[in-house]
């Protein structure tokens, strides 16, 4: 029994997928651009320059903060095979809770900042737990309960800021501005929440690799029947994973409010589609945190570069959305044939 596990073979196997994907991505990009009468080289260099040049890297990071955050929101449960479609709602309630805490809580600024972050995380967590509880207690599939709970949550938030808790003077559906000392500082032009997101990434990776909880999560993701046979408590696991994911989503909402908008603006959190890009990144990484986070960062760079490309050339920004879709498709394909046993 000596299976082929030579070094070169293994390295090729682990690099094959990204290599093929990169090649397919570039070919598709060049083809599409050439067919629509644009110089592919000019467009693609505008894309790369617009996202990674020193002058533009801050834009990319600012986009990556929420996108990578929402990648974790999807990846954490996905590692156990659970799909969390409720990221939008969890982010919105977190953002609103953070904004209200920072504006209305009569405590000194820095303390309000910390409490606002905590409130955001808790609010997001509660909403996610509610969805999870729907499944563990009443058998409503999480796929449905998490998605459906998002709509009323966003709706209530929208109502609150356009009425009772809104900044009536502005005529817009938004809260008042946060006090100056309850805001996250900018770090070289980047939302100060970047530190928190990096810490969250490290925490998720640590839990995944080093803890009993992380191991059990992977086991469940690989084989549910086996997990319950060896005595892993699936409902409890679902609650914990969703509670954690919701807390991250709430934190992302809080970070956007405290470090970027400085108020809760209706719709501003959802229109960029961070939740869905994050979900795609998590799917590309199959919930494995390092791969998912890298994919999330890559998507953030791609999307940021897309803005630049739209400015410099006539290529609309949806081009990057298409690229993203191509990448997800190729990466989630099973290629190389079935390598399983035939008996």
């Amino acid at each position: 029994m000596t299976m082929a596990t030579g070094r070169p073979a293994q390295i090729w196997i682990s690099l094959r997928r990204p290599a093929i994907t990169g090649a397919v991505g570039i070919v598709v990009a060049v083809l599409v651009l050439a067919l629509s009468g644009v110089d592919p080289l000019r467009a693609l260099s505008a894309l790369v320059y617009g996202s990674l040049a020193p002058a533009n890297i801050a834009d990319t990071l600012n986009w990556a903060v929420p996108l990578v955050g929402m990648t974790l929101v999807a990846a954490v449960p996905l590692r156990a095979g659970i799909i969390n479609l409720g990221g939008d709602g969890q982010m919105v309630v977190g953002a609103l809770a953070a904004a209200l805490t920072a504006i209305y809580l009569p405590v000194p600024g820095p303390l309000a900042l910390v409490l606002a972050l905590l409130a955001g995380a808790m609010a997001g967590s509660m909403l996610a737990l509610l969805a999870a509880w729907g499944e563990t207690r009443f058998g409503v599939p999480l796929l449905i309960s998490s998605l459906l709970l998002g709509y009323p949550a966003a709706g209530v938030a929208s109502y609150l800021v356009s009425g009772p808790l809104g900044d009536l003077g502005s005529g817009l559906a938004q809260t008042a501005q946060l006090p100056l000392d309850a805001r996250l500082p900018l770090l070289a032009g980047v939302n100060g929440g970047v530190v928190l997101i990096v810490l969250l990434c490290v925490l998720v990776i640590f839990i995944d690799r080093r803890t009993v909880f992380g191991l059990e999560t992977q086991v469940r993701g690989e084989n549910r029947l086996f997990a319950s046979y060896v005595g892993i408590n699936a409902p409890l696991q679902t609650l914990r994973l969703m509670g954690f994911a919701g807390a991250i989503a709430g934190s992302v909402g809080a970070i956007l409010v405290l470090g970027a908008f400085y108020r809760f603006i209706d719709g501003a959190l959802l229109s960029p589609g961070y939740t869905w890009s994050g979900l795609m990144a998590a799917l590309v990484g199959r919930g494995e945190p390092i791969a998912s986070v890298l994919a999330g960062f890559f998507f953030a760079a791609l999307q940021t570069g897309g803005f630049a490309m739209q400015r410099e050339t006539s290529v609309p920004r949806v081009f990057t959305t298409m690229m993203q879709a191509v990448i997800v498709l190729v990466l989630t394909l099973r290629f190389g044939g079935r390598s399983g046993r035939h008996d």
């Binding site: 029994m1 073979a9 992977q218």
Partner: protein
């Protein structure tokens, strides 16, 4: 010589692994030719080559004297070879005849000639005494019947050579006997059968000649009538394997698993009807019964997969009716499940994870919620050594293991718990002789160590060899308790079929 099929110097490599090396095989027209070998010997690889599923790295296949090269199974089918796979390839929602004619339908104009198709299937079934209803929906048929549909499918395409890859592995004893009879009739009507198995009694019962493989090579060729089971086993394993299980005398201790008037299912037709028995320390109690008479429900009730509707379940002195599986395991129960691929292991993860599960929450494998991978690897290495699992190392994914080795790995993990109660389901189904011998030995060792073992098996010889007592389940009730030393297959079979006691 009238060899219909000849294989010369076939070789098949998967990277460094040689699945078939210098294989020669000669099959005569109209014979039942058995291909035997332990798991991983390369039998399925050879059959896949013959059926055009994979291409050999070297060597030639000669059919009716002429060299052939199959690009796909379609080529093999048009060369009148048919194959019945271990996992059936049928559409469960279609009827028997629809499945059989699918892809080779008789047409009238542009339309499927339903009537002609159905007739042909019915006629074919009659000629070969393959008693199946052409209009039955395949998904509702028992496994044995589905297998007949697969055979008919091959015959419908005019197969002259029929390859059966471990056809009996999925069958209950009665179904197996039916299949062996069908095989004999097919051979009598001039078909040639290639019969892959690792069950000795089947080979002795039906085959004309045997080709034995070990580690990718042919180790022996014999005429069945002139050989012995011992000689075949020696060729398969390369050593002497004793079939005898030596059971030392043990003192029966206190009851560790107690089941009292257990009810499962609705009152009108309960799946388990007031089942009562106890398994004591130092004994192996076997459950015999035709599949579907309550074994699955009994296991589900004991493991907590199904709610207990009445009666009590007591594990090591504690009432366990309402406990989760985790809590039941905590009371001292280890389980070797029937389905080792989907329940007993996680194919995509390394051996050390598979072998640590269940012990991974406590030192030395983890401390304060942090896992210690080095300790897990050491733990796995120890068990791999002790139980002789043939695997590269603790980091190898278990999805690549053969049935026997995977079973050893699961047995190693579960027995290492030293739990007082062992629930063991079909421990040797689809496992090769070498591993069977080993698993039987460790089961008896567990008995000597004072465990209470509940053994559910469809192999009567296994129950007879291992058990102290055998309980026969029929329609959800225990209809008979037999002392293993004072009964035989015939008596057990009588009660399994619903026979009333004297």
């Amino acid at each position: 010589m009238d060899n219909i099929l000849e294989v010369e110097n076939i070789e098949k490599r998967y990277g460094d692994l040689v699945a078939n090396r210098d294989v020669n095989l000669a099959v005569r027209q109209g014979e039942i030719h058995a291909v035997m070998g332990e798991n991983g010997a390369g039998k399925s690889t050879l059959m896949a080559i013959l059926f055009g599923m994979i291409r050999p790295s070297a060597g030639t296949v000669r059919l009716r004297g002429k060299p052939v090269q199959f690009a796909s199974t379609l080529d093999a089918i048009s060369a009148r070879i048919g194959m019945v796979h271990q996992a059936f390839k049928l559409f469960p929602s279609l009827t028997v005849w629809e499945n059989i004619v699918f892809g080779a339908e008789p047409v009238r104009g542009a339309l499927l000639d339903r009537k002609a198709a159905r007739e042909r299937v019915a006629a074919l079934a009659r000629t070969h005494h393959l008693d199946v209803d052409p209009d039955a929906v395949v998904g509702k048929l028992p496994i044995g019947m589905q297998q007949r549909v697969e055979i008919l499918k091959a015959l419908y395409r005019d197969a002259e050579i029929l390859i059966l890859d471990e056809p009996t592995a999925v069958l209950a004893p009665a179904e197996r006997d039916g299949l062996l009879k069908i095989m004999r009739e097919l051979a009598a009507s001039g078909k040639t059968l290639l019969f892959v198995t690792h069950k000795l009694n089947e080979v002795m019962a039906v085959s004309d000649r045997v080709t034995v493989m070990r580690r990718g090579e042919v180790t022996d060729r014999m005429v069945t009538a002139d050989t012995t089971a011992a000689a075949i086993i020696r060729a398969m394993t390369g050593r002497e394997v004793s079939h005898e299980v030596v059971k030392p005398a043990t003192a029966r201790g206190r009851p560790l698993l107690e089941i009292d008037r257990l009810m499962v299912g609705n009152a009108a037709k309960p799946a388990l009807d007031a089942v009562s028995f106890a398994v004591h320390a130092g004994e192996i109690v076997g459950i015999a019964g035709v599949a579907g008479n309550g074994q699955a429900e009994l296991v589900d009730a004991v493991t907590g997969r199904r709610v207990i509707d009445g009666g009590t379940l007591t594990i090591a002195g504690t009432r366990a009716n309402d406990l989760s599986l985790r809590e039941r395991r905590g009371l001292g129960m280890a389980i070797v499940p029937e389905d080792r691929h989907d329940v007993g292991s996680v194919a995509g993860m390394p051996a050390y994870v598979n072998m640590s599960m269940g012990k991974h929450r406590a030192p030395p494998l983890s401390r304060r919620g942090l896992i210690d991978r080095a300790a897990m690897r050491r733990h796995a290495e120890t068990l791999i050594q002790r139980f002789g699992v043939a695997i590269q190392g603790p980091d190898t994914r278990v999805g690549t293991l053969s049935g026997g080795n995977l079973q050893k790995l699961i047995v190693a993990r579960e027995f290492d718990h030293q739990a007082p109660v062992l629930l063991v389901e079909q421990p040797t189904r689809g496992v090769d002789v070498g591993a069977i011998e080993y698993i039987h030995r460790v089961l008896v060792d567990e008995r000597s160590a004072g465990r209470a073992v509940l053994l559910i098996s469809s192999e009567l010889p296994e129950l007879l060899a291992l058990c102290d007592r055998i309980l026969v389940l029929y329609e959800g009730r225990i209809v008979r308790e037999l002392a293993a030393s004072q009964t035989d297959e015939k008596e057990i079979g009588f009660y399994m079929a619903g026979g009333k006691g004297a």
